[in-house]
């Protein structure tokens, strides 16, 4: 286990280095940071002095090294717009995004397994056919259309649910603001989380169904029938456990991709998370904030993938994570 973890963490660090290098090099492509800082009226000499002072004239690798050194200490630069450390700005917004992701993950976990497994076991049942039809629609309709449709139906026409914002929140441990524990907060979360899940959930349902159907055709499942096991055991232990392996791998990546979809969802619902913030940061050419966002999202990706790999290793006996 220890050796596996060390190796996996080593890979994670390398990936993070690459992500940080890419994010940092974007900075140069986004225009002169001085313009954002001091405006038009300052003379060229003073600008050059400032540049020299800020190290902007140093070679790229020197600048990157400095950036990395600061980043490791938790300093990802200062947002031009908010005039505060970029990391602080993001940490303010992160809880809202996490709420949204938790909400969507809840729908995915709640529905993907039962629906996918049922559709695999009873492919000709009307429910399976309806589920497959709906899932195609879910996958092909873009998130923002689903979101607008949901707002129109449940907020505008029926007036049952709020259409924007987070609603009431509570503070956890003095710094984590969440809507998960108030009724009003949950009401606000309902539509955004469904929108976010609307693309990923159908993908999971279809993936579980097709993997499971494949597994049901294998020799070892036939052998399980020939052993006279109860069908529930054959489906849930023999077939489903083998279905899980590919689903975990692909599913982990999908959960990471979900972070990208939060940008769209948060924008439509004006959800004050870091996706919404990112879009604003792009509009304001707030370079440090953009770079910080990319690095944090990269970090989330790397962490999910590492966790997924570890879970995969625990389910699959062919992977030795108990390195003796």
């Amino acid at each position: 286990m220890f050796a596996f973890l060390v190796r996996r963490l080593g890979q994670a660090v390398i990936v993070m280095l690459v992500i940080s290098l890419l994010s940092f090099s974007i900075q140069d492509q986004l225009g002169d940071p001085l313009r954002e800082l001091v405006g038009q009226s300052v003379s060229e000499e003073i600008r050059n002095e400032l540049r020299e002072e800020m190290g902007l004239n140093d070679p790229f690798m020197v600048q990157y090294g400095r950036f990395l050194k600061n980043a490791v200490q938790g300093d990802l630069g200062t947002s031009y717009f908010f005039k505060r450390p970029a990391l602080d700005v993001i940490m303010d917004k992160l809880p809202a995004t996490i709420d949204l992701v938790i909400g969507a993950t809840f729908w995915i976990l709640l529905f993907s397994v039962p629906v996918g497994v049922f559709a695999a076991i009873r492919p000709h049942h009307w429910f399976s056919k309806v589920a497959m039809g709906v899932s195609i629609v879910g996958i092909s309709v873009p998130v923002f259309l689903t979101a607008i449709f949901l707002i129109y139906l449940f907020a505008v026409e029926l007036g049952w649910l709020p259409s924007y914002g987070r609603g009431d929140t509570v503070m956890l441990l003095g710094r984590w603001k969440t809507s998960l524990f108030t009724l009003d907060g949950l009401k606000h979360l309902l539509l955004p989380s469904i929108s976010l899940a609307s693309v990923i959930l159908p993908l999971f349902v279809r993936m579980i169904r097709s993997e499971m159907m494949e597994v049901l055709e294998t020799e070892y499942v036939k052998f399980a029938w020939a052993k006279g096991l109860h069908k529930r055991r054959i489906w849930m232990i023999h077939a489903f456990k083998n279905t899980l392996l590919p689903v975990i791998t692909v599913g982990g990546v999908q959960l990471g991709i979900m972070v990208a979809y939060t940008i769209l969802t948060e924008t439509v619902f004006q959800w004050p998370g870091m996706g919404f913030m990112f879009l604003e940061a792009i509009n304001r050419v707030d370079t440090p904030l953009i770079v910080a966002y990319l690095i944090i999202v990269g970090l989330i990706f790397v962490i999910t993938n590492t966790v997924v790999d570890i879970i995969y290793g625990m389910v699959n006996p062919m992977v030795k994570i108990t390195g003796q």
């Binding site: 020799e219 070892y220 036939k222 052998f223 020939a226 052993k227 096991l229």
Partner: protein, 323 residues
Amino acid sequence: MDKLLLSVKNLEVVFPLRTGAVTAIRDVSFELNQGERIGIVGESGAGKSITAFAILNLISKPGYLASGSIEFDGIDLAEADEDLMRQIRGNRISMIFQDPMMTLNPVLTIGTQMEETILAHRDTSRDDARKIAIEKLKAVQIPSAETRLDQYPHELSGGMRQRVVIAIALLTDPQLIVADEPTTALDVTIQAEILELLLDLCNEFDVGLILITHDLGVVSQVTQRILVMYAGRIIEQGSTSSIIENPMHPYTKGLIGALPEMTTPGEKLNQIPGVMPSLQDIPSGCPFHNRCRYIQDVCRSRLPDLAKREERLIACHFPIQYD
């Protein structure tokens, strides 16, 4: 007096495919006594596996049993409901599959896959199930049985895995084992070991055996009686020794002539010319006629019945005579 264990009558299995219904086996009838061992031989696609799976009502979809009766120890399996079938499968009739690399579930330990079989059929504790599992692993001569239980299939060699599969088949002391090509996927040296083991165990526990194979050499070692199948039908049936020595159907004779032992070293194998017709276009008359050396006009037009000749059942208009 031998007690009748299994009586199969006029089995017909149909696959309704998009291109039309295909009858995979038809008119398959045979009997098996308690503790008797029979072999089913024939080329690939002859319907051997379908016959085996039909007995346990495990034909893969969309195939189904179109007609026939399967009487096992007084129970009509063709009419049995799913719950009764479950209680018979793996309990009173066990199966052994062809490829031990694919038969065992890769994510479950050997112990789990053995214990669950016992628990599905017996009202015992997990501990007792484990004891039975260890005992059967010892019966199939697997060294250090206790540690095997906690291992996964990929930690065992092919031969070892087939021993595990045989041990699983023995767990519930069945009356009948159906083995579908149990040695085809194994090394030649291991094949002989496994066959011998199977034979010993069947003798020791008085278990009936249906051994499916396309290798006549294998059946002649193990079985007392042989069924020869061709294009979904039984075409010859009789005691193993008489069929090997005096095959009466030209197809059986061809199969025996094609055995490597029957060929002088260095010469080509005496393969039967041509291939078995696909089920969609079985020729009229005798299905074997276009590959037969002894063909006469009537063979093209009339299907020969499976008729009794001496101690033999044979479906041929002109069986080979011996004196």
